[in-house]
Point group: C2
Chain length 426, copies 2
């Protein structure tokens, strides 16, 4: 039954029984965690054999001894691997260290302070700089802007990606906007895949926003499908080539959720001009990335087909967890008018929207019952969710039995908070 259809007496009774349920959960002393977008141990096991991939042979395909210094742009075989992952050319790809987040920070800071194409192009020359942030989004993108003093402007997500009418209009009207964050496939946290039209319009933003504008295209989940025959994301760099805007994008990705989380290889894709400038700056702070780890990766996953078959093994491990969350949400909340949630086809998250004004309360109640959730507001710039409704659920790290225990707790919290809000409004 819909929440709005209950009488006041019915709501009072429901509130009492839910409070009883809440008390029982509290007494059960649970200690569960749905916060972390981390792979589980069984996913990491899939790459244990990478540790033996070198087998005493430290020579890259071109003869490079990967144990020694050098090679700022990365091993040729890993540049080729990254190029395919990002949808750019190997000559446009830097194969770097263990963190694409670091590459994003570095590139944004580089554009801000040093200039993407020389000191004259530095954003800092242009006063107060702003970034567009499709919301809900990824908290660590927003942290980079906060750390660098870049103002963030929210843009609503739609089923086909950011609201492009609004994006274009904002760029036309505000020349201080120099960048935009995007997770174009299985957007973090809400799972949308940018449509072909959206990608094509994204590729034209550089023409509106000027030469120093950069799209931060964090393609973190490009091969992280949960289903067979997954939807395809259009190739941004190809679209940029069509429109002559190759310099307007910075494409990132990594193997962190492919092989080892935190011990993978990160990539950045940039036009050759942008890459040349970025590498000139990078050379002031490093001699090169860990090429041994790059060669381990190249040997362990040597073709794109290997990669896709490896990702199917991940999907086989995590799809049951996503399905279990969906089963609980569907059985517990369908038709109750107490919130909406996403059914993603890939990525690492399920996004849940409570009734307006209840995300904080639901998270608080859930925590009190022994289940940790990502703090409210995390998916918005400055941690300010204007409607206080978005909650990010991360099902990959806990095991199936933990999810099975945690989800009824979450649903109890949603129901209790919703019923109490409804009661107050009567």
């Amino acid at each position: 039954m819909e929440l709005n259809a209950y009488s006041k007496d019915q709501l009072v009774a429901l509130e009492q029984s839910l409070t009883q349920r809440y008390d029982d959960f509290k007494k059960a002393g649970l200690n569960l965690d749905l916060t972390r977008g981390k792979p589980a141990a069984d996913q990491l096991d899939l790459s244990n054999a990478m540790e033996n991939a070198l087998n005493g042979n430290f020579r890259a395909a071109d003869g490079t001894d990967v144990r020694n210094y050098g090679g700022l742009e990365g091993l040729p075989e890993m540049r080729a691997f990254g190029a395919q992952l990002l949808g750019v050319k190997p000559s446009e790809t830097l194969a770097a260290g263990n963190s694409s987040l670091t590459l994003m920070y570095q590139y944004v800071q580089f554009c801000l302070l040093f200039g993407a194409q020389g000191a004259d192009s530095a954003w800092k020359n242009e006063g107060n700089i702003k970034f567009l942030c499709p919301v809900p989004g990824y908290d660590r993108h927003f942290t980079i802007c906060e750390a660098l003093g870049i103002e963030m402007l929210n843009v609503p997500m739609t089923a086909t990606g950011p609201d492009m009418d609004q994006v274009e209009s904002m760029l036309k009207n505000d020349k201080q906007i120099k960048g935009m964050w995007c997770v174009p496939k299985y957007s973090n946290p809400s799972g949308e895949i940018y449509s072909d039209e959206t990608v094509d319009r994204m590729a034209q933003l550089g023409k509106i926003a000027g030469a120093n504008f950069r799209i931060m295209w964090d393609n973190a989940y490009t091969v992280h499908d949960l289903i067979d025959n997954p939807p395809q994301l259009a190739n941004l760099m190809d679209a940029c080539r069509k429109h002559g805007t190759e310099d307007s994008v910075c494409i990132t990705g990594s193997t962190s959720k492919i092989t080892m989380a935190g011990a993978g290889v990160a990539f950045v894709g940039l036009s050759e001009t942008n890459l040349k400038h970025f590498c000139a700056w990078l050379s002031s702070m490093t001699i090169g990335p860990d090429k041994i780890n790059q060669l381990r990766h190249a040997r362990f996953i040597s073709t794109y087909e290997d990669l896709l078959s490896h990702m199917k093994k991940h999907a086989a491990l995590i799809k049951p967890k996503f399905d279990l969350v969906q089963k609980h949400l569907s059985e517990g909340l369908t038709g109750k008018g107490m919130g909406n949630w996403t059914v993603p086809q890939g990525g690492y998250f399920i996004s849940f929207d409570t009734l307006n004004g209840l995300a904080k309360e639901v998270i608080k109640l859930t925590n009190e019952m022994g289940v940790k959730l990502t703090p409210a507001g995390s998916t918005f710039p400055y941690k300010k969710d204007p409607n206080d409704c978005n909650i990010r659920i991360a099902p990959t790290f806990p095991n199936v039995s933990e999810i099975d225990k945690a989800m009824p707790v979450f649903i109890c919290a949603v129901e209790l908070a919703s019923v109490r809000q409804r009661l107050k409004s009567l």
Copy 2:
């Protein structure tokens, strides 16, 4: 015979025979390289077994699954390892990625732009900032200053370290000096070890230079001894504790020339207060370092005794190379008044001083004969060697037979340039 003792006729004859020798070398078509401070393949072989150190066990001592995200400050066992290497406490140590150079760049940039202890302490608030640079020094330190727009001031090296009278006087008279580069043991390139008195005076600089001053103590060669019973460098952080100046130092090191060059583990040692601030900023750009590689290292070199015994194996491989360079220099140039050179007890370089004004010419002649040397001026800020005399020789990467062929070429160039200069002056 001393160059100055030759008559003009003798010099003319000598110039002719050296020119003949130069022509013969040119015809020989050599292609040798003494530029690179890189370990040779046989040194890297010493750590090949590290690749098997994990043997399927990815749990750190505290139970951490090193394959997953997290742990910004590094694995406890590698923080302890780094602490011992740097001479600080584990709680003062960050075990990071593959490059201490990156940590140095990051820390200097952090102090400049964000402030070592909050925004109020940022150097950029104080106008044009300067660093003291003992010369000759390490080119990549100078590159960091150039990249960040920090002005560099030369300070002469003495046998006991930088000229401390001059350092103290400069700091008293110029409050824009906010930092100083040091390679305190086996200084790059000239091999000096800072004396106990120098270290104690270094530890007091913070009292002269103020709260925002930072000594960049790049202890790159702390266990890189060529001899048994090597000289000991006094502990800087201990001296700072005595003087209450723990915040004035940033100590760095890595395993790059211990295990794998470019695939090692880098460390920074900072007072707990400084480290807390630095990590808060680091957290905006990374979730943590490659803990798998850290655990590989901790398993491969599990005690300090293991480390010292491992370094003895390095010494056994490279000491013959250093000795061979010394033999050639000694036999070829002793008593000729054509230059001076260092006889280091460790580190990676031999530093050669030509007669004033001849370094560029000697390097040019050497290159023409098919032997590459580090470009002239590289060991000075802005690549400007005021006397044009310093040449850095790196004997580790070439093999013994290559050194045996390259050194006569170098000596021929020194003699030819010196004789020609003398002839001109007559």
